[in-house]
């Protein structure tokens, strides 16, 4: 297994340390010992030392959501995501990527997204119809919302219109690179996808990024690849919060207590914790649920659900338990994934809404 010295160092540090076990959304959901950073590191140190084959461990390398909870928790600063992604790349180079991952890569090659979609919902198209194609601001929807949660994309377009933002949406938007980055890490194909997306984004003065996972790729991975983004990047939530502060939008009032699902990528990678709360606080009596802000828990991942759908449902169920425990009747989501998975997991009496729905 050809991995960097840095990855080897992290593996050797994490292999006997369970300090982040309690915070792993996958391990908490499955109760399986293999689902934590320590187990992954332990198995890979065996591979490193010739005592196990990578093929025996590779499925487990794909049982990580790369959400960064373990990284955030580590008092020493070790980052298990580094070796996890590097081993995914190594598996691709060695031709031992699991079949279910290879199938997704194949779909990506055919359609430009791992979901194998070639068209998107009319509800988005309808809202795009009256946008100014020459606007210098772009709303980047991303593959997840476009193909897996079209209402989330539609509602965002409507909300930005209400805020008076002059923007456009691309009919032929391409993936940010998040998909290949998740599946095979820092391969040349990933860089090509990112570069192509950057070329498009750089035609605009400002890009509003709807999905936090795309934003994470723009601010973290592009930098690592030295891919320049000349446009100004804004999170969708920050645009909404500014519009509210400037009196351009009104926020609907909700009955009962309201809480907010912090998206892991938004808070941990982008560093944004307050903008969504500005909107939620205006909507009613706000309560903070346990594990919020940088301690947040993943609620679901469309990409990972392609091969671990049952586990993603368990992950959402775990997070829903935190919401119920908070006493909130409504949870507001700022990511299409959080929204979709929590909505599926919500029991009667708990309302899951997309942050755009609060804009009136």
């Amino acid at each position: 297994m050809l991995i960097s010295e840095n990855s080897k160092k992290i593996i050797d540090s994490c292999r006997f340390c369970w300090m982040c076990r309690h915070i792993c959304p996958i391990g908490n959901a499955t109760g399986q010992e293999r689902n934590n950073a320590r187990a992954r590191a332990l198995s890979l140190q065996y591979v490193e030392r010739g005592a196990a084959e990578l093929s025996e461990c590779i499925d487990n390398v794909y049982e990580c959501a790369l959400c960064g909870a373990c990284t955030k928790e580590c008092a020493t600063g070790w980052d298990p995501i580094v070796f996890t992604k590097e081993v995914r790349r190594e598996a691709a180079l060695d031709g031992i990527t699991p079949d279910y991952i290879s199938a997704l890569i194949e779909k990506y090659g055919e359609t430009g997204n791992i979901y194998g979609k070639t068209d998107y919902c009319d509800c988005i198209k309808n809202e795009m119809a009256d946008l100014d194609a020459n606007a210098d601001t772009l709303l980047y929807i991303g593959s997840d919302a476009r193909y897996m949660a079209p209402c989330f994309a539609k509602n965002a377009i409507i909300a930005l219109k209400k805020a008076g933002v002059k923007f456009t949406v691309l009919a032929d938007e391409i993936d940010s690179g998040i998909e290949l980055d998740t599946l095979i890490g820092a391969m040349e194909e990933t860089k090509e996808a990112m570069t192509a997306c950057a070329d498009v984004l750089n035609k605009y003065k400002t890009v509003i990024v709807l999905n936090p996972s795309d934003m994470k790729v723009f601010v973290r991975e592009y930098k690592e690849w030295d891919i320049e983004l000349k446009c100004e990047l804004k999170t969708y939530t920050s645009v909404l919060a500014d519009a509210y502060r400037n009196g351009k939008i009104q926020i609907a009032k909700l009955d009962g207590k309201v809480t907010y699902q912090d998206n892991p990528f938004l808070v941990r990678e982008v560093g944004e914790t307050e903008e969504g709360r500005v909107i939620c606080n205006a909507a009613g009596e706000y309560v903070e649920m346990i594990l919020s802000k940088k301690d947040t828990m993943l609620a679901g991942s469309f990409i990972m659900a392609q091969w671990m759908d049952d586990v993603m449902k368990l992950v959402a169920k775990e997070r829903m338990a935190n919401i119920i425990q908070s006493g909130a009747k409504t949870v507001v989501c700022a990511s299409p994934e959080d929204y979709a998975f929590l909505k599926d997991a919500a029991p009667e009496g708990i309302s899951v809404i997309d942050i755009s729905e609060l804009v009136i």
Binding site: W18, E33, L42, W78
Partner: protein
């Protein structure tokens, strides 16, 4: 008994029927990750590229009923069963040294009730303790069980080896924190202990299973106490010129009231770990005390503390070092902050009354340093009672043998020497890490003919000897 491929598959289908196919594994990844715990020998062995003994099956029951089904299958085929919680134990207690079934408890993690009338949380024993702390915190309470493994170990794991946390002097050990338990006996019967502890209805069944390390059954549910959050927690650091004065001062203090944290570091540990993490750059024995509870009582207790320690010449270092220690109390145990491979190390925690504990410290230090000149010896005293204290004494060998067999031999020789010295001077084999496979050989030396009580219970409850073989000296 060795089973061939056909029988292995036959048994697998029975186990799958008991817990569900997705919760029963024969995959290499599950076997290897249940083969290494926090035991130095298992870590060294795997570091050298050698596979530890592994299970044939890894099963994860969701409750007592499924656990019962697994144990009935295991008994029928006479397959060893090793219970695994978080795997954070240091004594090799969770390693399936005889193969067979690893029964992972982490799916039994449900929190059934946060009972604020009777002040307990009822939960599955597979719950990570940090998760029940969160549940208590959400209602404004605390579990007051804060060991370094809080975030990685399970309720059952702490019960199985009688664990302890840093505020033990005030709130007690894990056995002081449990009210009632549900246990699955080796024959598959599901029992409950009495509805309250401290009763006179015969011996306390809780105390038979606490510390039994999975040799007598599987604890599946427990009621763990919760406490009011303290109005105030104050810290005070002290520097003693010598350990004797510190023992006298602490013994006297504990006749007056109970602080929550009491940690006395010997001069060697003060000069190493405490200097590195807390920043105390002084010679002597550092001691950290925390007092907590109602503010009015804290005020009085702090005055008593200062008066008592002043009598024994303790230098008052103020509150900052103590606060820093509290903030970093778990950081000590992260990789990069404590001993790690390639070093060889071990913690020989023992407990004894005051008239013996200091003698034990010096005897163990002398025995280790004399017989093993390649080893350093450091210690602190972290859990205190009105009648005695425990010593958390550690040896460190910076350059252990490269050959794993030689490393194992040296490791065991140091342990045997240290623990035998403790026993000879009135100490006990272990205080709160347990026995596991590491110290099983010394149990008979500790107990002599009293060991027949343990073996008798074991024989009655587990006649086929399937439960965690070769652990606890049973």
């Amino acid at each position: 008994m060795q089973f061939n491929e056909f029988m292995t598959d036959m048994i697998l289908t029975e186990l799958e029927d008991a817990v569900g196919r997705e919760n029963c594994s024969i995959k290499a990844i599950d076997k290897m990750t249940h083969g290494v715990d926090y035991f130095w020998l298992s870590r060294m062995w795997s570091d050298r590229g050698l596979r530890m003994p592994e299970a044939d099956y890894v099963v994860s029951p969701k409750d007592a009923k499924e656990t019962s089904a697994v144990l009935k299958i295991a008994n029928y085929y006479k397959i060893p069963v090793t219970t695994w919680g978080g795997g954070g134990g240091t004594q090799g207690g969770a390693i399936p040294v005889a193969g067979g079934i690893v029964l992972d408890t982490k799916r039994m993690n449900k929190i059934y009730d946060v009972n604020t009338d009777s002040m307990y949380i009822e939960c599955g024993t597979g719950a990570i303790y940090k998760h029940i702390e969160w549940a208590a915190n959400e209602k404004g309470y605390a579990t007051m069980h804060y060991p370094s493994s809080l975030t990685c170990s399970t309720v059952g794991g702490f019960l199985a080896h009688r664990g302890i946390g840093v505020v033990s002097t005030k709130y007690g050990k894990i056995d002081d924190m449990v009210l009632q338990m549900e246990v699955v006996l080796p024959n598959g019967d599901i029992i409950e202990t009495a509805s309250a502890p401290k009763h006179a209805a015969g011996p306390d069944l809780n105390q038979i299973f606490i510390g039994s390390e999975g040799t007598l059954g599987v604890m599946t549910k427990a009621q763990m106490r919760i406490y009011d959050q303290p109005e105030e927690r104050r810290f005070r650091g002290f520097l003693f010129k010598d350990m004797t004065a510190a023992f006298k001062a602490s013994r006297e203090l504990l006749q007056k009231f109970k602080p929550s944290v009491m940690r006395l570091y010997d001069p060697a540990e003060t000069a190493s770990l405490i200097k590195k993490i807390v920043g105390v750059e002084r010679q002597g024995a550092f001691m950290n005390i925390a007092i907590e509870g109602c503010s009015a009582l804290v005020e009085v207790e702090e005055r008593i503390l200062l008066e008592t320690f002043a009598k024994y010449g303790a230098e008052d270092l103020g509150s900052e070092y103590g606060k820093k220690w509290w903030e970093e109390k778990i950081t000590f145990f992260y990789p990069g902050h404590m001993m790690d491979l390639p070093q060889m190390f071990g913690t020989m925690d023992t407990i004894a009354p005051y008239d013996k504990i200091e003698k034990i410290y010096w005897a163990m230090k002398n025995a280790i340093e004399t017989n093993f000149p390649m080893a350093r010896f450091i210690a602190h005293f972290s859990h205190w009672y009105e009648w005695g204290a425990m010593v958390y004494d550690r040896f460190i060998v910076d350059n252990p043998p490269a050959d794993p067999h030689e490393a194992l031999r040296l490791h065991n020789a140091i342990w045997t020497c240290g623990v035998r010295t403790a026993i000879a001077n009135g100490g006990v084999v272990n205080d709160h890490h347990g026995v596991g496979i590491k110290l099983g050989r010394l149990m008979k030396e500790q107990y002599g003919p009293a060991m027949q009580v343990f073996t008798g219970i074991k024989k009655q409850l587990d006649p086929n000897g399937i439960m965690n073989p070769f652990k606890l000296g049973l």
